[in-house]
Structures are given as C-alpha cells and as structure tokens.
C-alpha cells in the first residue's frame, strides 16, 4: 500500500496524466483513500438495524470490492468493483433507474445505505460513519486513481 501511495505521489509530481479532474486530485486525499479502502485507516460501520458497530476488521472495503489497482479479497462478482467508470457512468444499479454517482451522493450512500436511485443497499453493506474528509478521500481515490 505504501508503494501504491508512493506511486500516486510520484505520478502527481511529474504531472497527473491519469487524472481528468486535476482540480480534485489532491495527492494526500488519494493516498488516504487507499488507506481507507484497504482498512489501514479504520472506517467505522454498522449494519442496518444493528446497534453495535462492527469491528474495523469487518468493515474494510477491500473485503468485498475491487478498487482502482486493488483486487478484492473476494471473488469477482460478489460486490460491484468501485472505480471511476463504475461510479461516474450513468448505469442501472440494483434494479433502479440509470444513475451516476456524484461525490455528495456517494457520501450519502456510504452513510445511509440508500443509493442515488433511492434503492436501499443490502444489509451486508455497512452504513459507514464517515466524516467529510474520509468520504472525500475515498471518492478521490476511487474516481481519480487509474484502473488496471
């Protein structure tokens, strides 16, 4: 993970050729997004209908999702991969109407478990207690880092 973060930093130092939104490409935010995605920085989460928060070992994004340059620990198909194309393209999701994620709707989904098409995510996806900085870091990583 450190190597990936270093790679991001190096890429930005020589010019963010892979970023289509240079104004949003904050290196520290992207690197933090990697840490949050991998679970190196814990992200508190609770299952819908539950009172007790899950331990951080059970709330790592990478347990279920592949991210840019990151393979999921699970087999492909268990949960949608998360990258710029998956999030930013207008696509039908979970039987709802076609919709694309914006940063605000991504954060809202992360916190409430209700996606931009107003479809509720399954209980296995925790509702995360993510603050604005954590949300922004994840969004920046997922939408700005190059997919492999």
């Amino acid at each position: 993970m450190m190597m990936l973060a270093l790679a991001f930093g190096t890429a930005l130092a020589v010019g963010p050729a892979w970023s289509e939104e240079p104004e949003a490409a904050v290196p520290s935010s992207v690197a933090r997004g990697v840490r949050l995605f991998d679970g190196a920085e814990p992200l508190a989460g609770t299952l819908s209908g539950h009172n007790a928060p899950l331990p951080s070992a059970a709330t790592r994004c990478i347990q279920c999702h592949a991210g840019p340059g990151r393979s999921a620990a699970a087999v492909p198909g268990f949960a949608p991969p998360l990258d710029r194309r998956q999030l930013r393209e207008t696509l039908p999701r979970r039987g709802g109407p076609p919709v694309a994620y914006e940063r605000a709707s991504f954060c809202r989904t992360l916190r409430t478990g209700v996606d931009p098409a107003h479809v509720t995510l399954p209980r296995a996806m925790p509702r995360f207690d993510a603050d604005d900085g954590q949300c922004a870091a994840l969004w920046d990583y997922l939408t700005q880092a190059p997919s492999e």
Binding site: L47, H50, A52, L54, A57, Q63, A74, V75, R94, A124
Partner: protein
C-alpha cells in the same frame, strides 16, 4: 502416488468455495430470506438434525445431533477463508455472545458450521474462534466432506447450490431440532428474541 488424491481434494475445495461465494453474492444482492432459506421465524414442523458427522475445533468428532442435544443452540454457516460476509458473521456472533453474557445466560450455545470441510481443519476453526473472542460455549465445526450435502439439505431444504450459504442464524431446540430461522445477518436482539420464543 498422491497426485490423484490431491487433485480430488483441490476440486472438492474449489466446489465448496464456489458454492459459498455464489451464495454470498446472492446475500449481497439482497436475495430475500424466503428464497434463500424458505422463510424467517418459526420452522414448522421442526426439522430433526440428521446423522451428520462433524469434526470440531477441539478435534472431537461428535454427530451434529449430539452436538446440539440438551441446549438451545444458535448456528451459523461460514468458512474461515471467506473474506466477505463471514467476518461480519463472526462479529455478530461475538455480539450475541456478549448479549448472552449480559443476561447471565450460559445455557445457550453457539456453533459456527463450516461449509469448507477440506480447508477448515481444527486448527483453522480454532483460529477463527480466537479471532472473535469465543468463549467455551461457542464451538466451530465442519462436517465430513461426504456429509456436506446432508448439511445443506438441513439448512436450505435442498435449495439450489447458489442459495446454500446465507447470513441467517438457525436456532435449534434442546432436542436438536431446527425450530427458528432469522433474517440475514440479524441483530443480536433478533436472535435473542428468537431464543426466548423457543426457550
């Protein structure tokens, strides 16, 4: 000389994992409990645990019915190599264990049943229990490989392979009969309420 056996083992392990992961995907996608495991709530008529040999985390080899006999038992299906819902399931049983302790209820037992008997030997199952702070009333076990289908039939009623692993919790009465199914990944309160209903 060992090659054929190794090949068979790998195939069987792969099959077990495919079953689980396909089922986990269904759980992720929000497959309704009714489709995953018939229904939630009371199981009527109650279903007796079949003669099903287990290998427990401590190396003992009881039959499933003997393991369940005499105590109310909450059972979950899992496998230790699962990175998706299984860590959540382990955390939920840990929360349930804490809730039982709070109520000073030492009569209810917990059982994590692996669907990957080829990989989940006693050492792996013991590590799983340690990871979640299991106390003596929480056991883990895997069926004998040839008993896997019987185990699935007990919990799913013979549902399709993709439905074979869910995050539901199954409650057994003191006579080793399946009498209650919870929702997917249930809160501890829901399991406790089910236990009170069957107690």
């Amino acid at each position: 000389m060992n090659a054929p056996r190794r090949l068979l083992t790998c195939r069987a392990a792969s099959l077990g994992r495919r079953r689980l992961l396909a089922a986990s995907a269904l759980a992720w996608l929000g497959v309704p409990p009714a489709r995953a495991n018939d229904s939630t709530g009371p199981v009527m008529p109650a279903v007796a645990a079949p003669a099903l040999p287990l290998r427990r985390h401590d190396g003992a080899a009881p039959m499933l019915a003997a393991q369940l006999q005499g105590s109310l038992t909450a059972v979950q299906l899992m496998f230790t190599g699962c990175s998706t819902v299984c860590p959540i399931q382990g955390a939920l049983f840990s929360t349930l264990q804490a809730a039982l302790l709070t109520e000073r209820n030492a009569a209810v037992r917990l059982l994590s049943l692996s669907i990957d008997p080829l990989a989940d030997d006693p050492a792996a199952l013991s590590a799983w229990l340690r990871r979640f702070g299991a106390r003596p009333t929480w056991s883990a076990a895997a069926p004998a490989p040839e008993a896997l289908d019987s185990m699935f039939r007990l919990f799913t009623g013979g549902a399709a392979a993709g439905d074979r692993h869910t995050g539901q919790v199954y409650l057994f009465d003191r006579r080793a009969r399946l009498v209650w199914r919870t929702s997917e990944l249930p809160p501890a309160e829901e399991v406790m309420a089910g236990l009170r209903q069957i107690g």
